[in-house]
Amino acid sequence: MIDLKKKIPQKSIGSWVITVLMYILALTWLYPYIWMVMASLKPTPEIYHTDLFSGSFTLDNYQFLFDSAEKLNRPFLKSLFNSFFITLSVTASVVITSAFIGYAMAKIDFWGRERVNNFILFQMVVPAMMLLIPQFVLIKQLGLINTYSAMILPVMVSGWGIFMMAQAFKGTPNDYIDAAKLDRASLRQIVFNLMVPLNKSIVAIVALFTFTGTWDNFMWPLIVMSDVDKMPLSVLLATFSKQYGIYVGPVMAGSVLQALPLVLLFIIFRRYFLQGMSLSLK
């Protein structure tokens, strides 16, 4: 874990200048977000011709997305629902399967465990890019093109998730598990009522990074989904902007909708995001 709290007692003028500079830079880094939100609240003709915080603010762009875009065959409300449905299904599945299989890898002795472990490590270093086209062919063979399953099934189980959970579970003392077994706890109870609460932060990390990764996924749904009614927001927004790019206001409103869930998650669970990022530093 990176220790961001460690204070260096320096009170020179130089360090004050650096601090002020860093604050200015940090706010500059937020500028694209601020501009996006402001643009989404202005009528399109004003976006390029007013200063950041001036202009006549309205919610028309959002209204356009939810009302008029339907007539252009761009159901944004539906796609927002699709995104949440797909992302939450994948996240729930990855967390549950990773917890059970991770528990097996960490705490149960069975024949071939080392080999499975090696397979997971191997799988994590093989570039996913190579399998893009063949996986599309598989989905096509299964007759799943233009279905929710195409976006959910292939990513329901994650080697990375299993690896992360197993690493964390190994640190939980066996005494707890033995005590639970003496009380005749079932496997489900051991995993859900013991391992998950004891390893809260790793479960949160797996859930959050799976959620952001799935929400943000663009190329795969672009390939397997051409039905506007089942498109996730990322793809619908992209096709909308390719065709109706001149509607800058609505496009920015759509971008806000696409970015907002991740921004909120990041602000609320920033501790786990920081922890997760520093885990990869070892």
């Binding site: 604050y23 299989i101 063949p134 299993i162 696409q258």
Partner: protein, 296 residues
């Protein structure tokens, strides 16, 4: 009696463990191993998604190697790295050093930068397209202050540079944090000794700081190379590979040839070659730059 019970329990448990592992493997047989079979078939056959694949030997191989688009995309990866690596390394090093000197609000500042990292590719690509557009806020600022504007995304010589700026915006916080974790691990005594010897700051940077964070720098470079070969959303959304193919990256070419020209064999083989090239690039970079740092 009791003894027997426990033994029974253990047998059951190892079976459950094996069953869980088998279900994991089964999933991967379908969604991971089986596609490799298709990868093999696709690479050596003529196919347009609808007809029956016919064996064509090494034809795909020659098509890819003869394809100027393929070479152009590899060249574009190099061009991207040429912009991206110096810019992102300088920025994230500055960020890491800056973070070291902040007394108050370190977490807040780190979070501001990391917010760019946790954001949706489609959303920020659209935002930057508008910010960089010919009448956008960037050009308005330049016109007001300096009296000229820049064709950020519409000129073949600028587009790649603009995209690498956007990717830099996204990754500086993360890379900077990696470098920062290396910097805080350097013992202060080394710097104190250097100060006693009156070592100039630039010398301290190149002779102490950078060598001491070698492993973190390597990690950042590995990430940068991976991004360069695997980037898709940003060029697809911001330039669609143009203008004049100046931002046509490997994944865009693969996407185009598989789904618009219906040549999945050529696309699949290209993906394999690109993956191998990126692996080799990382390997060579490590060979040249990686050093074992030991504190005596």
């Amino acid at each position: 009696m009791k003894f027997g019970n426990i033994k029974l329990g253990e047998i059951r448990e190892s079976q459950i463990g094996a069953a869980l592992a088998v279900s994991f493997l089964l999933f991967n047989v379908i969604f991971w191993a089986y596609p490799f079979v298709w990868l093999l078939i696709l690479s050596f056959s003529d196919w347009r998604f609808f007809d029956v694949p016919t064996f064509s030997g090494l034809k795909n191989f020659f098509i890819v190697l003869d394809d100027p688009e393929f070479w152009r995309s590899l060249w574009n990866v190099l061009r991207f790295l040429g912009y991206y690596v110096p810019i992102v390394l300088t920025c994230s090093l500055a960020f890491a050093f800056g973070l070291q000197h902040i007394g108050r609000g370190k977490v807040f500042i780190a979070l501001c930068f990391l917010l760019a990292h946790i954001s949706s590719g489609v959303a920020y690509s659209l935002v930057f397209t508008k910010i960089f557009s010919s009448t956008g806020p960037m050009n308005r600022l330049l016109l007001d202050w300096f009296g000229f504007s820049i064709p950020w995304l519409s000129s073949p010589s600028m587009a790649m540079f603009s995209i690498s700026l956007v990717v830099t915006w996204k990754f500086v916080g993360y890379y900077g944090l990696i470098l920062y974790s290396g910097l805080v691990a350097i013992p202060n005594e080394i710097y104190d000794a250097a100060k006693l010897d009156n070592t100039p700051p630039l010398m301290r940077l190149f002779k102490i700081s950078l060598p001491m964070i070698n492993s973190q720098l390597i990690m950042v470079l590995v990430f940068a190379i991976t991004v360069a070969f695997g980037i898709f959303t940003e060029p697809y959304m911001m330039t669609a590979g143009g203008p004049m193919e100046s931002t046509n990256m490997p994944l865009l070419v693969i996407y185009e040839s598989a789904f618009h020209r219906l040549q999945p064999g050529r696309a699949a083989l290209m993906a394999v070659i690109i993956a191998i090239v990126s692996y080799l690039a990382i390997k060579i970079m490590r060979k040249i730059l990686e050093k074992n740092v030991e504190l005596v």
